[in-house]
């Protein structure tokens, strides 16, 4: 077991390093740099002299050879120091820390909603005896997955905020402001959960132990939730990492549409202005969240399912 955990942790670190390195290379290869972006400001600006820009580049270390820049930044990043934002001069760790709470709020609310909606739909679809209802229910997730998130967000705003006036269209002021963004983010993720869970539920309900349990006189409902659901959860559990990634990626769009502060909006701003330190920080954060989720799953799986061990199917 110790060896299993050790391998998982090492792999996780390797993934974090790879994510950092790949972003670094991409960011430094694309043309332009944050100093000229800063000088550009709006289209009206941009009269800073070439010498001035050069001095600033020197100050931020953008003139050093690429390997030197990479080594300096990586060493600092290992110590948790991602430098300061070129745009605002704010410490990157602080800047991300400030917006972490609203995004965590949004993501957890969306996750709960997604589990309720997706799980409920999957259970209902696999439990019903009406083939027509099952087909109808099972056709909903693919539709939901294929709708663009920003469009869903705009429609929800249009209906529930602009027309009915039930929820605000922007900001992060209280629970009211959380409902629409969380729902927008939950829909595609709930659909994903529903698809996987429904398939494994249907599969599991055909297993011989179901017949045995029914023969012992246990009701259909009790077998479905007690035995079938428990067995069907395993494949769904492996999706946790994917869901975490989707929550983060979705927050970029949802936070922009709903004008909510958060990691997503910080990312958009940083990318537009090529604020390299901030982008690096956000990417590493994303990688860490993704890795942590997957690591948790990897560590949980052998506990839930004794068949999973190093050297066997999941090494």
């Amino acid at each position: 077991m110790t060896r299993y955990i050790g391998i998982r942790v090492l792999l996780a670190l390797a993934v974090a390093w790879a994510a950092y390195t790949v972003t670094f290379v991409i960011l430094y290869l694309i043309p332009g740099d944050p100093v000229s972006a800063m000088a550009a400001g709006g289209m009206d600006g941009g009269t800073a002299s070439a010498e001035r820009l050069e001095a600033l580049r020197e100050q931020y270390g953008f003139n050093d050879p690429l390997p030197v820049q990479y080594a300096t930044h990586l060493l600092a990043a290992v110590r948790g120091d991602f430098g300061v934002s070129v745009q605002t001069g704010q410490d990157v760790t602080t800047a991300i820390g400030q917006v972490l709470a609203p995004t965590a709020q949004l993501a957890s609310a969306a996750l709960v909603l997604a589990l309720l909606l997706g799980g409920g739909l999957a259970v209902a679809a696999s439990y019903t005896r009406s083939a027509r209802l099952r087909d109808l229910l099972l056709s909903l997730p693919p539709v939901s997955v294929s709708l663009p998130t920003f469009w869903v967000g705009l429609l929800l705003i249009q209906l529930f905020s602009f027309q009915l006036g039930l929820f605000p269209a922007m900001g992060d002021d209280g629970i009211d402001a959380l409902v629409l963004p969380a729902l927008t983010l939950a829909l595609p993720i709930g659909a994903m959960i529903a698809q996987v869970l429904a398939r494994s539920l249907l599969e599991a309900s055909g297993e011989p132990y179901v017949v045995t349990a029914r023969a012992k006189g246990i009701t259909r409902g009790a077998v479905h939730t007690g035995h079938v659901l428990r067995n069907a959860l395993l494949p769904a559990l492996t999706m946790v990492g994917l869901i975490a990634g989707n929550l983060l990626a979705g927050s970029v769009i949802v936070e922009t549409v709903f004008a909510r502060p958060g990691v997503g909006q910080l990312t958009v701003q940083a990318v537009t202005l090529q604020d390299l330190p901030v982008i690096q920080g956000v990417v590493v954060l994303g990688a860490v969240v993704f890795i942590a989720a997957n690591l948790a799953v990897d560590l949980l799986l052998p506990l839930v399912d004794p068949r999973v061990r190093v050297g066997h199917s999941y090494a």
Partner: protein
Amino acid sequence: MNTPIPPRSLRRSRVAPLALLTGAALVLAGCSGSAGAGSANTDAAEAGEPVHGGTLRIAVGSDAGCIDPQQVGNNDSIYSTRQLVDSLTDQDPETGEIVPWLAEGWEINEDATEFTFTLQEGATFSNGDPVDAEAVAANLDRGIELGARASLITSYLEGYSGTEIIDDRTFTVTFDEPSAQFLQATSTHTLGILHPDSAAASDDERCTGVIGSGPFVLENYSPNEGSTFTAREDYDWGSSVWENTGAPYVDGIEFSIVPESGVRAGSLQSGQVDLIGNIAPQDAAQLTGVGAQLLDRTNPGIAMGLRLNHDHEFLSDPLVREAITRGIDREEIVDVTQVEGTPTATSVLSSTTPGYTDLSEALEGDDETVESLLAEAGFEQDSEGYWERDGKRLSFEILWFNVAASNSATVELIQQQLAGHGIEVTLQEGQVADWQNKLNEGDYDANLSNITRADPDILRSEYHTDLKNQSRLEASELDELLDAQASEGDEEARNEIVADAQRTIVENYRLVPVYDLTTVLAAGENVHGVHFDSGSRIHLSNTWIED
């Protein structure tokens, strides 16, 4: 003539589908929405006596991550930071005349190198300290040291040698070289006066908050989220062109950053905000349909148009430049891509710039003019209808940026129109972070842009060959004209030189003017007294909300 099929746009904006969908969402809203269709009413006077109180809620599209007026340059940020500071002077948006604000008077020496200002009495910063000569000197001395963010202030203070304090209220600003533009520069938000402590703080510290003497005081600023302001009850030194020079009518202002234009428009319609910036043309009709007011003012400065790289094989030929200029149908571009009321360009300067001269004759044209110009330049039409010379097709690339939603439509239309005349245009979308380098290094053929500045000296910044010279011009008599206007203290004499300079630029087709960029905001029907300054940015001291 043989009309070639216009090439499909090579790189479509990724935002275009979003804009379309947003538009569609609003159309949906319109079908079932409010029945009260009122006409736009921008005249505050009709609404009766101003009402005191209330909070003005404003949504803008972006945030520069900085709340220091001396370090921001884009409209969305200026709307808020402008309210925090007063300037030495103001510029009458109607006449372009420089009028008193913090300074009650000034004198300029003959060659425009020495400016002596006298401050009005009684103005204080929001912490109670007086606005005195020392404070102004601290701002100017610090201004020239500001970093890359503050490119505007460094250009306004070019050649600044120092400020001599004569007494508490009198001081002389001195320049190494003539700087006639400085007087107008003192009216801008960029030279808004900060408390000496704010001025002394580091660039980055200043971005998180500053103390000024303006009608509003900063309460809170969260980058990318918004800011809140409270009105100063003891404010009593407003600009001489404002209707209300005393304390603001509203109690405070809330700015929110709402990136999606459709969400901004919907928030205004549903009464969640009172005023929104950066109206997309597709949202405009919808907004007026539900009774919102569209507030517009044409920006002064260099008109929106194609900056041309004179090192380019074809664009170096004056006949080609003239053919392109005359081949563009400005009316159609404005009709299709701009909010109603946007004027077509009639000079290198837009019509609201002081010293502007109408040169529209040099810009008009038809198929035959374009044909004869290109024939004269030695071009022949190939089998597809495109012009070519020595076997090379007449073709150039337009580099453009998605800073305004209409830019992609504008360049695509230009591409089509010129294709109709047998001139091939390719489009290249650039990133904001990258554009300045490309232009400075001459790494482009043509570039769609404008520059906002309510002083004709912007011509010198753009076209003098000793400066950035992004158009890659050769030194000519134009340089002399541009130098001459910079050192001419007399307004009338200066305007004559400026007219000559415009003529030299336009009649040599140094750029392709297209339209006069017009700032459009929308306000709820109960909002009155939004004041545009000479740079088409807003002052909110006179703004009030009807109950």
